[in-house]
């Protein structure tokens, strides 16, 4: 019998009744057992998780509270400019130490009993450590050094800050691989400025969004704004490539390659091809060619919790924060380059209408995740079928592929396990 693991590894041809492709049991999206296992083995396991843009914590004492999976962490900038990431949980009795989303402080201090920590997480001191009037106080062998905040390994790549709980995981650029590193560096090519956040709560499992962002197949079919107003079609040139480990994906397209005759032939009269509408105010799409390679859309999905994107002139990171098996938060942080002129600022702000929770070409992803979650929740034995592009975790020089989704599941299977956890 051909099992799921075999089919996901490659295009295995056998004489069984199982079709070629990857099948994922839906309980990965609904069961608490998977959720708990992935917090431990994936988010707190051998992965590098995005936590901040360096531009969010530019000055000594700046901090940002965020999450890795659902573990609260704080990113700090120390007096010597170094970056630290610590678990946002007091070493005393577990209170949240840093309660604001961001700010600037000389040190971190828990409000419950005022235990105070250096910006690197070292415990500075404890009130009433020696009691009062000689009564009470901590045991004589209480050692501040043993009671700091939990410290993570931190690495930054061109302004993107990542952290890991793992002592074993390879250095960040090895983890990303040369292709992904190159394209991170392409977008993060010079100093940036933060333009703002948007936060989106999605009633679905975070891995449905991991699939969605590795799925160029849906782009022209679900996101009809492209087609309605003639912005993007699957006949555009593009590729969907992965790093060697196939955990990350790089999906890009170039807008300059529209071919009207070919489009008509491909789409004929499908619902998603309608060029009879034009924008009343086409300034929405007016932009500048910023990159010499002519690429107008990049979706970099960095395993496990980050999407770095360039869509026309919009630049953003999207951070996945998990809330439970059936919900996650997507934190969008949009940015421009520090040397943008006023016109470029205006272009980025206007094109911001394309992305984010109200983005005219991105809002549907929230709905796509939810309609899957709603349908899979009651049938835990059922499985998906993922085979577009050939059924293997293969790179594609086109956009009608699900190869990168299969790559994601291969890594998830290795790290968390799938079949053995299905109850």
């Amino acid at each position: 019998m051909l099992n799921v693991q075999d089919t996901a590894v490659g295009k295995v041809s056998t004489d069984t009744e199982e079709p070629i492709g990857c099948r994922i049991p839906y309980s990965v999206f609904t069961d608490d057992a998977f959720y708990k296992a992935e917090q431990e083995h994936l988010f707190r396991g051998p992965t590098w998780n995005f936590v901040a843009l360096e531009a969010e914590v530019p000055n000594p004492g700046d901090f940002k509270s965020t999450f890795i999976g659902d573990t609260p962490v704080v990113v700090t900038r120390d007096k010597d400019q170094s970056l630290h990431v610590v678990v946002n949980r007091c070493a005393h009795r577990g209170a949240t130490v840093c309660r604001a989303r961001q700010g600037n402080v000389p040190h971190l201090e828990c409000v419950y009993h005022q235990w105070a920590y250096e910006l690197n997480g070292d415990l500075m001191g404890v009130p009433f450590r020696r009691g009062i009037k000689g009564k009470g106080g901590m045991p004589a062998d209480f050692d501040l050094k043993q009671h700091g905040l939990v410290k993570l390994r931190v690495e930054a790549l061109n302004g993107l800050v990542f952290a890991t709980f793992s002592q074993e995981v390879e250095p960040l650029t090895d983890y990303l691989g040369p292709l992904i590193t190159k394209h991170v560096e392409r977008i993060m090519c010079r100093p940036i400025k933060i333009l703002g956040n948007q936060r989106q709560f999605i009633h679905g499992n975070w891995k449905l969004y991991a699939e969605n962002t590795r799925d160029p197949y849906h782009a022209s079919l679900l996101h009809l704004f492209h087609n309605t107003f003639g912005l993007y079609r699957s006949t555009q040139t593009g590729e969907c490539l992965m790093d060697e480990s196939k955990r990350h994906s790089f999906l890009y397209s170039k807008a300059g390659s529209n071919d009207a005759a070919r489009d008509s032939e491909v789409y004929q009269d499908s619902r998603s091809f309608d060029t009879s509408f034009s924008l009343q105010d086409p300034s929405l799409l007016a932009g500048r060619s910023e990159f010499p390679d002519g690429i107008t859309l990049v979706i970099l999905a960095l395993y496990p919790n980050l999407i770095l994107q360039q869509i026309s002139n919009t630049l953003a990171v999207r951070q996945i924060v998990t809330h439970g098996p059936d919900s996650f938060e997507l934190v969008w942080t949009q940015f421009g380059y520090a040397d943008d002129d006023a016109e470029m600022d205006a272009i980025r702000l206007k094109q911001s209408n394309l992305i984010g929770p109200a983005g005219m070409i991105s809002m549907e992803d929230g709905e796509a995740v939810e309609i899957v979650q709603q349908a899979v929740s009651s049938d835990r034995k059922a499985r998906s079928y993922i085979a577009m592009g050939g059924g293997g975790a293969d790179d594609a020089d086109h956009l009608v592929t699900e190869g990168a989704i299969i790559g994601f599941w291969q890594n998830y299977r290795e790290m968390v396990g799938i079949e053995e956890r299905v109850s």
Partner: protein, 162 residues
Amino acid sequence: MDLSTLPRTELLREVTDLIALHAELIDDDQLEAWPDLFVEDCHYSVLPRENADRGLPVATIFCDSRGMLVDRIVSLRRANIFPVHHYRHIISTSRIHEVRSDAVVAHTNYLVLQTRNTGRSFVYNAGKYVDEIVFSSGKFLFRSKKAIFDTDLIDTLMVRPI
């Protein structure tokens, strides 16, 4: 018309009427009529308070012409995929913040309840309108409307204007 010469009560009534009509057109799904409440050269933005407080410019929806408002509605009708839902605006008393000869600035709190086909209603968006209203072509119209929202965790997505 010099708005600063109008009695305050009359101005407040006009402001209140326009804001109520804005809410009603959205709640009743008469979205095609919604852009007509704005002057041609208008600003409409829906922005998280988190950004407004930090002086960051990103808005969830940002339009700087009536044409962009129309495009938003065409996109909603023709292109966008979203959960079936209704809005219900609850609008507070408006406060006139400033009266200039050509415009009145009013502040109004709002709540938008959303009901999807589950039948349950929930607070979708709570915030404050900062409206700049002008008298143009015989009507009071928005020259600028900002909905600055506290509810910065947007539930699923935002397709309909606030």
